[in-house]
């Protein structure tokens, strides 16, 4: 076995982390409340919180382990202690979160694992003695303090009654809708305009201090040199992508951005960037600029950089220049409520968003279709204002049930093929001015409806195969809607 090894790229961070642990620290301790607690809250509390009632059953913490209080953390679970203050490598908690995710013992069991930076902080926190800094957490149901293992360094863990804080167990409010909450825009993006000009103020020192090692693969002396740690600073998208271990930049959040953390370390820290003597470190002023730039949302100001070797940027949807109807309509609505959505899905409907972050919905019946009735469809009315695509094809709806269609004023796509509807339904449809797609094949719609359909000027495609429409009627409709495809 070799004693000294070069670091392989993807081990880079972990190894650095280990070295960092070993090195003396000029910087202060990791702050539990701001660095560690949020991670536990996000990734651990669900299973390792206080016993709680759910669906009539009491859910006990998994493996008897509670991470929602200092006492619980120090006491450990059924298998014994989970942290060994001062020694991350002996701490089961750290071992489990840093396993390969395919490993049986990997934690958390559900959801994403800890990010590299989170692991790094956790490791460092344990190495520094696992100090809770006054935090107590939720001691409910934990019994008396003497249960904590003696001899731990966490002298501040006990002290019950010292203004016990209530653990911040994230409560899932029933109001949460399945429509994804847009991540809050970075703080600075909300109001104040950006002041840092990336190309003029940031790029120069990135080029000077970082890009030499962190850039697109290139050849030197017949060998391909790959970017260190898989991280590149020579293209905007590359910076956002981060290293093989995860992102290094979190726009709007300098504290979470590893690229700032690394350059801000003391120079003798093994984790410090750029590493010894390789390049000029950032000056205090530069660090301040970098911090501000990140805080302001990391606006690259149009700079792209060298995209070679990156996956091609995916272009916008084909309707490039003018915004699509969906985009325009999206501005007019709010997300549907969870109760309403649940009521609709209970009828067997499938609901999807038309795009990420867009409150407009597509509603369709994917299975069991022939048994879907007017009564089921009526329930969709509750979210009428959000529905822009509606697929009721091959269901049991009738003209009667579809009278409510006139309320679906955001509708752009309507599929009613192979249903029992007649010309009556077209009366309700003719008010839907945004309609682009109308599929009526296999219905008994006749020529009588065509003048009404012709009024829908936004239509791009109308399907009339196997209906009562005549060749002549279809021809007239083609005349009326010259830009639309009339399938007959």
């Amino acid at each position: 076995m070799k004693l000294v090894r070069r670091l392989t790229p993807s081990l880079f961070l972990l190894c650095l982390a280990a070295l960092w642990m070993a090195a003396p620290h000029a910087r202060g301790a990791i702050d539990f409340k701001s660095r560690i607690l949020p991670v536990f809250e996000k990734k651990c509390f669900d299973c390792h919180g206080a016993p709680r009632e759910e669906g009539g059953e009491v859910k006990s913490p998994r493996a008897g382990l509670r991470l929602d209080s200092a006492k619980g953390i120090l006491r450990g679970g059924e298998g014994g202690a989970v942290i060994s203050p001062g020694s991350p490598d002996d701490s089961v908690l750290f071992q489990m979160v840093s396993q390969r995710s395919s490993h049986d013992d990997f934690m958390p069991k559900e959801g994403d694992g800890l990010g590299p930076l989170e692991k790094l902080y956790l490791k460092k926190w344990i190495a520094e003695g696992a100090v809770f800094d006054g935090w107590i957490g939720n001691e409910e149901g934990l019994g008396d303090a003497s249960a904590a293992p003696s001899g731990s360094k966490a002298k501040d863990a006990g002290a019950p009654g010292e203004g016990a804080q209530v653990a911040m167990v994230p409560k899932k409010t029933p109001e949460t809708t399945p429509v994804p909450a847009m991540k809050d825009p970075p703080r600075a993006m909300k109001g104040t305009p950006a002041t840092v000009n990336f190309q003029r103020e940031v790029l120069p020192f990135l080029k000077r201090s970082c890009v030499d090692c962190h850039r697109a693969p290139y050849e030197e002396g017949g060998r391909v040199k790959k970017p260190k740690a898989g991280l590149r600073f020579d293209a905007a998208r590359a910076i956002i992508q981060g290293s093989g271990e995860g992102p290094v930049l979190v726009p709007g959040d300098p504290d979470e951005s590893e690229m700032l953390a690394r350059v801000s370390l003391p120079e003798d820290d093994d984790d410090f960037m750029p590493p010894d003597g390789d390049a000029t470190p950032l000056s205090a002023a530069e660090k301040e600029v970098l911090k501000r730039w990140i805080a302001e949302g990391a606006d690259f100001g149009g700079w792209v950089g060298n995209e070679e070797g990156l996956i091609e940027r995916l272009p916008e949807a084909p309707t490039s220049s003018e915004p699509s109807a969906a985009e325009l309509l999206a501005k007019q609505v709010k997300g549907a409520s969870a109760q309403d959505l649940a009521a609709v899905t209970a009828t067997g409907a499938s609901i999807t968003q038309v795009a990420v972050g867009n409150p407009l919905l597509r509603v369709e019946y994917i299975t069991g279709e022939s048994a879907v009735t007017d009564a089921d469809v009526a329930k969709i009315g509750a979210i009428a204002g959000n529905v822009t695509e509606l697929d009721l094809s091959e269901t049991g709806v009738s003209d009667e049930g579809l009278a409510m269609l006139s309320g679906f004023d955001k509708l752009t796509y309507l599929d009613l093929h192979n249903t029992a509807i007649t010309d009556v339904t077209i009366d309700h449809i003719q008010k839907l001015g945004y309609l682009e797609y109308l599929n009526l094949y296999g219905t008994s719609v006749s020529d009588a409806s065509l003048p009404k359909i012709a009024k829908l000027r936004k239509l791009k495609a109308v399907y009339l195969w196997k209906t009562s429409v005549t060749e002549e009627g279809a021809g007239k409709l083609r005349q009326a809607l010259r830009d639309a495809k009339i399938s007959f």
Partner: protein, 658 residues
Amino acid sequence: MKTFSFTMRMLGVSLVLAGFMGFAHAEFPGREEKAPADMTLDDVKKISLQVDKFIADALRKEGKSLIGDSTDEQFVRRVYLNIVGRIPSYDEAVTFLDSDNANKRAELIDTLLNSPGYQSDMFNFWADILRAIHRPGPNSQTNAISYLNYVKRSIAENKPYDKWVAEMITASGGGWERSSGGAVGYLERDKGMPLDNLANTMQIFTGTRMECAQCHNHPHNEEIEQKDFFQMAAFTHGLKGPKERSYGNMQERRMYENAPQDVRNFVRQLRYDIFDFGVVGGGDGVIPLPDDYQYRDADPNEIVGARTMFGKSVRNARAKPIDDGRERFTEWLTTPENPRFTKVIANRLWKKVMGRGLFEPVDQLDMDVSVSHPSLLVFLEKLMVDLKYDMNAYQRILYNTRTFQFQPNPEEHTGSNYHFAGRVLSRMTAEQIWDSMLATTMPDVDERRGSHYLPFIQHRGRYVMVGKKDMYDLYEEAMNLEGRALYDWAAKTLKEFNGDGGVRAGEAMSMSMMDSGSAKGPMADDKRWAGYSSDLLRASELPSPARASHFLRKFGQSARQVIEGSTKESDVTQILSLINGHVEDYIVGSSNAVIYQDMEKAATPEEKIEVAFLTVLTRRPTDEEMQLFKSNVDTVGQGAYDDLVWTLYNTNEFMFVQ
């Protein structure tokens, strides 16, 4: 011997096995030596007890109580499934259950370990690991049969594991050369991909994952670098096919182009099946690094010498070509001093017997691997060495432990390390399901042979020259011919084939002249199996792997493309085949299935129900169950027996091994 006792003492383990140790040490001069296979049952039981002690100690330490012994019903089903790969037949089950011989468990274990069923099961086991397949190349017709038979023969002979591995890695010559006997098939499996072959070798036999290092330094495992990989690969670099040299020959090329279509096709087939199939060269001991080598410690295309990456250092330091690279590699690989070689096989077979490994995956021995019973692993490693890598004897000891014979564990085990307090419930493998169904369909199924492993010459979809000439003969005749002589011979031989006309697979069996290594024994047209479809052969007698849509593949038989690619995961198509397909087609809907014949012999409905239970579930029905099926007979009549048989196969109890 000294080393052994010393190590054991250091571990605080006392091996009170004077008799056993007597035969276990070949290097101890002047002492009479017994082969592991000749161990008396007493010897075996003493060692089994030692093994149990490790498990019991660990359980005590964890404050877990010992679990009781399995019932005879549980035991007989489990031991049949484990050793011969199928459930016991009605007769076998009843014979065992009704016997009052106090030693009947040990005796049954010995019987099974020496039965053809054991060989069948071990073949499935190894074929999955070795990715042994009938057609390694897209165009080959017959060329891996000799290798498959070599694997079967090695199991039948109970070839010591270390010798067997060494044989495969050092094998030379043509695949159909009688003397080399197909062993070259192992290297041939990855024809044209020697680096992949090396990565597979390291994984299978040393639990070292190197496939990533083929292209770059190992991202997860800092021990392994790309250079290490190439230095290992240098040992076996430079192997060639036995007749590759004639390919570039212009004259031959012209002859090929000018030959009639049928001769051309025949010569092309010879290339695939004979000239290409085999290995020559001893291993160069040197290898160039790849074009895109990107690390600082060497240049791209730089020639590096062979060097082992762990264990005793063996190296070709001066990077001058040698001709015995493979031997040096093999010696390093298979020596007991290799820190991984013995561990891997000891644990692999432990898992085969006990259901869970001491570490898993069994072929991933990373530095940070978590071993559930470290001192037991050391003990088993020594045991394997002392048994001279006799896999049968090793398993015999494990089967005789109480640990194997524990009750099933009613708890579900999750997490990595297992404490072995009770056997882990597991779904049967694809082969176990298929073979178990066969055992209830026809008599003596372990002895039935098909034609898939016979070295016949295939010509236009038929077997030709059966009884007169086989692939080995073809090899001898064709191998030394060049140019004109080859084409003349090819034309003549083709005429012979056409004149012969050939036979279909079934007929070929009865005319077979027998491969030296396999297919001894009764033929497919044996009267015992008259009336049963010729497709109803044990998994080990069907093509390896079975065709993609076959029952076996549906239930998770490996496609044998990757090491241990088999799976026990279930899906809906499997259930459909149990509900509506196979069970109905071959058992419920077939009156000659043995289960029906046995039920026929029974006089009363109660007895019939009992026969069915014993056949499918290896136990008698409870009162409640008897009542349930009895009342079904009362209401439905004769059809109730179809219900009964169908139902028993479609219970969870059938599918899960306890």
